[in-house]
Symmetry: C2
Subunit: 328 residues, 2 copies
């Protein structure tokens, strides 16, 4: 017998309406649409992203972490646009085996991240599905007109930067699957945490317009996402793999098995920001890194040409089996 | 062997990017988010709704009609808010058995309705799913501040109106399942068409602010949706079932089997607008109906109390087995 789940209206009233309490125009989710005030002198920025059980998360992952991950994936995208997130809408399709307790924990995960990132639920839809749990979030934010960052603004001679550290999530997924046994339990846990709860650069993103020429969040993998910047900017990128910033657990994993560098470079789910900026912006970037407490590491440069080249410690071009994650 | 489906990026570039051609800030879906210009002096109106194969449509329904239905469900909601739709984002989860030909027909359905209703795709996400096809659309529109219609504005003494005709979609679903054999093939086809391709009142909706006190689109069923207005307005409604406007095929179905009145009153998917207005607004409503060519029929009134009462031809209160459609 499946666990008890209340009807659609009760689910919304009990678990989701409290998440809309901060926005008057969401009417406590008692109406069919939300009325939202985009302040004069701003553009609206809109983004949607979905996750499917068994494809993007494991059905036995903690429900609060699933919720936080799908919200954070969207927050990360908006941060890389230089936008400030405000509101989101949620489409949730729950399988029968999902009961009230699961939905409650899912909503608690959203509540946690709403408080952390100052966004509110303003609408949504809950449905039953005979298939896997499927969640889609549309995130809405604001940015000053013309200040939003895009993938295609890089110029030849620009330097390539990344925030934070790269590869932790890809290694965390391996650790969660019982690999990386040479690491300590604490190191493995650090990497798994980075996989399960990414830290989108929400506060930092809106400070990049005026400094960065192009930006993207690293979700498909460093090489693949840098590839998107190259493709839309009609340039190539040359990066030096010894400059790619690594966490201490990632360094330990690579010390034990150097071939893992490929996972670091092409694994997805980092949710750091990759951006390009002219060399003259270096002092300002250093100031921003110091003020924000977020590391910003120069890993390469943009040049005329096509594609992404990764140079290894001896300056040789690395052959990569795959450029990054694709969904089909 | 499943039919061929291209990778995510190719699917987007080939089938969905052309749908974004009309909005500069959607960048042909080559970026992670859209930048949208909400004109000064307007509020943003946001709404999301999803459909799941086997629950909300049949897997062998024509792909273009599935696409149009999910878009039209959202358009109908925004129309009932008095808002003008502008942009939408699509989250599509395709099962493996869905190949390029299916996706192409799905996108053609969207293209058809974009042209008809003057909206554009500005973002989306396509994923593979091991479960049923699942589509979520978030629709964004605009309305003058304070002019948006809500469910909760009805006042005692207001009259209850509906646009168009009621019950066709519920009867259409029966016809599609091989019932209503007393009707002609043409009558059945009319009803099936109303079920498969609802006609949201997109042009009419924005003309209702200033006339209507409350509005809702009829998706869960006349009685259930009127019940939402009653509940949020803290009133009851008394409707006269002989005033409920019926199409000629629906009249024929009822003539053959009068018990079908229950399906008419409680079946969903009408996608007409139900609204309330003071008696003094009657002349203006008549003028609007004449100018727009959309029938607007007074079916009852709002009173102090709770719930919805339906009076039959003899003025007796009808007992209804169910109030309308719920999703769980």
């Amino acid at each position: 017998m499946p666990p008890k789940r209340s009807g659609e209206f009760e689910i919304i009233a009990r678990y989701f309406a409290p998440l809309a309490a901060g926005v008057a125009g969401a009417f406590g989710l008692t109406d069919d649409a939300a009325f939202l005030d985009v302040p004069d002198g701003h553009e609206l920025v809109a983004k949607t992203d979905s996750i499917v059980a068994t494809v993007h998360f494991l059905p036995d992952d903690p429900p609060d972490l699933i919720a936080r991950k799908v919200l954070r994936r969207n927050l990360s995208d908006l941060a890389a646009k230089g936008a400030t997130p405000r509101w989101y809408l949620l489409d949730a399709a729950f399988p029968k085996r999902v009961g009230n307790a699961w939905v409650s924990r899912f909503a608690k995960g959203l509540a946690h991240d709403q408080a952390e990132f100052d966004v509110s639920l303003v609408g949504g839809d809950t449905k039953a599905t005979p298939g896997p749990a499927t969640f889609a979030i549309t995130l809405l934010g604001i940015v000053r007109p013309g200040r939003g960052l895009r993938r295609n603004g890089a110029r030849a001679g620009d330097e390539v930067y990344v925030t934070g550290t790269i590869g932790d999530a890809a290694l965390g997924l391996m650790a969660r699957r019982g690999k990386l046994r040479s690491l300590t339990a604490k190191q493995r846990q650090h990497l798994i945490g980075r996989y399960q709860v990414p830290r989108p650069r929400v506060a930092l993103g809106p400070q990049l317009p005026g400094i960065a020429t192009a930006a993207i969040d690293i979700s498909d993998g460093l090489v693949a996402d840098l590839g998107h910047v190259c493709e839309t900017s009609k340039l190539c990128a040359v990066i030096d793999e010894t400059s790619v910033p690594l966490s201490t657990p990632a360094k330990a994993a690579l010390a034990a098995r150097s071939q893992l560098m490929e996972q670091v470079l092409t694994g997805g789910d980092d949710y750091e920001i990759l951006f390009t900026a002219p060399p003259a912006a270096a002092p300002e970037i250093a100031r921003l890194a110091a003020a924000s407490g977020v590391a910003m590491t120069r890993i390469g440069r943009m040049e005329a040409g096509r594609g992404v080249s990764v140079l290894d410690a001896r300056g040789r071009r690395r052959k990569l089996a795959q450029g990054g994650w694709t969904h089909f």
